[in-house]
């Protein structure tokens, strides 16, 4: 095994108080940073606005998927019980949509819910296990009871002194560089 190399990929400011985090986020937003994020143990009210986040597209997607589910149900019930193999039961009309309402409803809900779950994977980065935050013990604080602001080094506003000064100005007393460990290619394969 070769020695891992250390890359500084950003700067982390840790706060003990969500209000201080919100104030810091507002500053960072106003400075024009784009590649940054806040990490919190629970959703903090007002932070979306402080970070300048747009509202989530998840509801629209779920609604659209719901209607796709509804159409699927109409096609499924109508296609099979009305067109492909019509069954007349109790003298009712062949296409009695009322009898299919439970299927319509259930597939609406099912499709919408599956889309919600899929959109969590898509938008929240679920299923992506690798992050320098995990390697560098920052997550220990964040999932416990502290609040972090992370500025990535790839941001065009980023420079080490600037960012450190900015975070300290907002009252952060625990500023740490974010380090990524990279295994060097051992050259066997």
């Amino acid at each position: 095994m070769s020695r891992p190399t250390e890359n500084t990929v950003g700067m982390v400011g840790l706060f003990d108080d969500p209000d201080a985090l919100i104030r810091a986020a507002e500053r960072v937003r106003d400075e024009g940073f784009t590649r940054w994020d806040c990490h919190t143990p629970f959703p903090v009210h007002g932070l979306d606005r402080a970070m300048g986040l747009k509202s989530s597209p998840v509801p629209t997607l779920a609604l659209a998927a719901g209607f796709v589910g509804l159409l699927t149900a109409v096609a499924l019930t109508g296609g099979l019980n009305v067109i492909d193999y019509p069954i007349r039961i109790a003298g009712k009309p062949i296409f009695s949509w009322q009898a299919f309402v439970p299927i319509y409803f259930e597939l609406f809900v099912l499709f919408a819910a599956l889309t919600l779950m899929a959109s969590l994977f898509l938008f929240c980065g679920l299923g992506r296990w690798h992050s320098p935050l995990h390697d560098s013990d920052i997550m220990k604080h964040v999932t416990g009871h502290r609040f972090a602001i992370v500025l990535e080094a790839t941001d065009r506003c980023y420079s080490e002194q600037n960012v450190r000064a900015l975070l300290e100005e907002t009252g952060c007393r625990d500023v740490r560089p974010l380090v990524e460990f990279e295994e060097e290619d051992s050259g066997i394969l």
């Binding site: 919100i22 994020d37 806040c38 990490h39 919190t40 143990p41 629970f42 959703p43 903090v44 009210h45 007002g46 606005r49 970070m51 986040l53 989530s56 998840v58 509801p59 779920a62 499924l76 019930t77 099979l80 019980n81 492909d84 193999y85 069954i87 039961i89 009712k92 009695s96 009898a99 299919f100 439970p102 299927i103 409803f105 259930e106 597939l107 809900v109 099912l110 919408a112 819910a113 919600l116 779950m117 959109s119 969590l120 994977f121 938008f123 929240c124 980065g125 679920l126 299923g127 992506r128 296990w129 690798h130 992050s131 995990h134 997550m139 220990k140 964040v142 999932t143 416990g144 009871h145």
Partner: protein, 458 residues
């Protein structure tokens, strides 16, 4: 949320001085310590019960469903009774996690995770019965789910039984996803608290790389709210559709329009009784009395008594409608229910579901775990009997007196039901040991808001 509700609600949700750190330690302690002897004893017992299910399911599959007690005229026996019973148990979980969430009932936070887990496990138990009643469960998929096939034979989508397939499978899946979504941040906490490498790996995989990023939280909160929004009509639809199994038929005693609301109220009633039954043991076992407080018990008891009154009203209304309809068969079924050979089951049901819960009018009983415990146990029993009464008394004396019979379950029937209780309790015990039983993340919000005076920002 208004400033008013934050000022009022959190005061009663904790006992004593609870800190963020202490809260987390208390919730995660069962995950991070070696199981106690009591836990091993409990799971050996429930595991033994669960193996009875395996045995009886084996008998059913190898010898056929003739090993069950149902026969003409009672074509639907314990299997459907157990199915409806378990689906009903699940409903309280969704009510607590979804409906109370939409109504911003902060007290739900302490018990929601536990109740949701109960929902998922109860639906698993419920599904066993329709599955095994097909005789060859490994082929059931082809009979229940429309799949493209060359024979051109498809399910009848006008049948309530096919509605059930869609309703229950959707309900099971959505409950599972809702539950898991709620678990993700808590699993991430478990991952970061883990000392042991293996534990860190397992919770790391399960938490799907959650980083608590606010960009993620912003989508997550929307999705969670929508899950609640979808689950609310879903839970009402599921037991309505289950009740259609009966109501859509033309059997006197089943063919009534009151069934959907009556079944939903009964489901919530039995579900809350089951939550109370298990959570009292849980909080004692893991010393969580300061997080699941007597106030929580009292609120649950209030819902139990409210739904008990609804169920009682439905019992009375069924009799009234039978008399008012003027239909001789309808009248006979209900007289037979209360005075016939199954009167013992009917009155067990009435006493357990309507009379016993009246004790909960007393504040002392509502707030004392030991005093309310017999009541909720009786409700569990009573609600099983309710389904038994509906199914069996409506069938055992049909239109032709020569085919009247007295239905009795066989040992295999009893074994399957007892076994399903074993499966349910085993899953609950595993859940208590390996997953956070209280939604730590949500409770942190409640705690943080109760501590920062205003609690309300923006």
């Amino acid at each position: 949320m208004t400033a008013n509700s934050t000022a009022l609600a959190p005061a009663s949700l904790f006992v004593g001085d609870v800190t963020l750190k202490g809260l987390e330690d208390d919730i995660y302690r069962p995950l991070e310590s070696f199981p106690t002897t009591r836990w091993w004893l409990a799971i050996s017992f429930t595991g033994a019960l669960a193996s009875i299910f395996a045995l009886c399911a084996g008998i059913t599959v190898t010898q056929g469903i003739g090993t069950w007690g149902n026969n003409n005229p009672v074509g639907w026996g314990w299997a459907i009774v157990n199915f409806v019973f378990w689906v009903g148990i699940g409903h309280a979980g969704t009510l607590i996690s979804a409906i109370l969430f939409l109504f911003r009932q902060r007290w739900r936070t302490g018990i929601a995770r536990f109740a949701e887990a109960m929902t998922v496990f109860a639906v698993i138990c419920a599904m066993q019965f329709p599955l095994f009643h097909t005789g060859r469960p490994w082929l059931a998929m082809f009979w229940l789910i429309p799949y493209p096939n060359d024979q051109g034979i498809y399910q009848n989508f006008r049948s309530p039984l096919e509605w059930d397939v869609f309703a229950v499978s959707t309900y099971g899946l959505v409950s599972l996803m809702f539950w898991y979504t709620g678990l993700i941040p808590d699993l991430a906490t478990a991952r970061d608290r883990a000392k042991h490498q293996f534990r860190k790996f397992v919770y790391g995989v399960l938490s799907l790389g959650w980083k608590g990023s606010n960009r993620a939280w912003s989508h997550y909160e929307k999705a969670y709210l929508l899950f609640a929004g979808l689950s609310t009509p879903l839970v009402l639809s599921v037991h309505s559709i289950v009740s259609f199994d009966f109501a859509v038929s033309v059997i006197p005693g089943w063919h009534t329009t009151i069934f959907p609301p009556y079944f939903v109220a009964g489901a919530i009633f039995s579900g809350f009784a089951m939550v109370a039954t298990l959570i009292i043991i849980l909080r004692k076992m893991f010393h969580l009395q300061h997080l699941i407080t007597d106030n929580h018990l009292e609120l649950m008891n209030k819902i139990i008594i409210a739904t008990s009154l609804m169920v009682g009203y439905a019992y009375a209304m069924e009799f009234f409608m039978a008399w008012y309809s003027g239909v001789a068969y309808e009248r006979y079924v209900f007289l037979n229910r209360a005075l016939g050979p199954y009167a013992w089951a009917y009155w067990t049901m009435a006493i357990c579901n309507v009379l016993a819960p009246q004790l909960l009018w007393f504040k002392k009983i509502r707030r004392t775990a030991l005093l309310m415990y017999p009541v909720v146990l009786l409700v569990n029993v009573g609600m099983w009997f309710e389904r038994f009464v509906i199914v069996v008394t409506s069938l055992h004396r049909d239109f032709l007196p020569s085919s009247w019979d007295y239905y009795k379950p066989t040992l295999v029937d009893i074994g399957l039901f007892v076994g399903s209780i074993g499966i349910f309790l085993t899953l609950m015990l595993l859940f208590c040991r390996f997953l956070p039983t209280i939604a730590a993340t949500e409770l942190k919000v409640v705690l943080a808001e109760s501590r920062s005076e205003g609690g309300h920002r923006e």
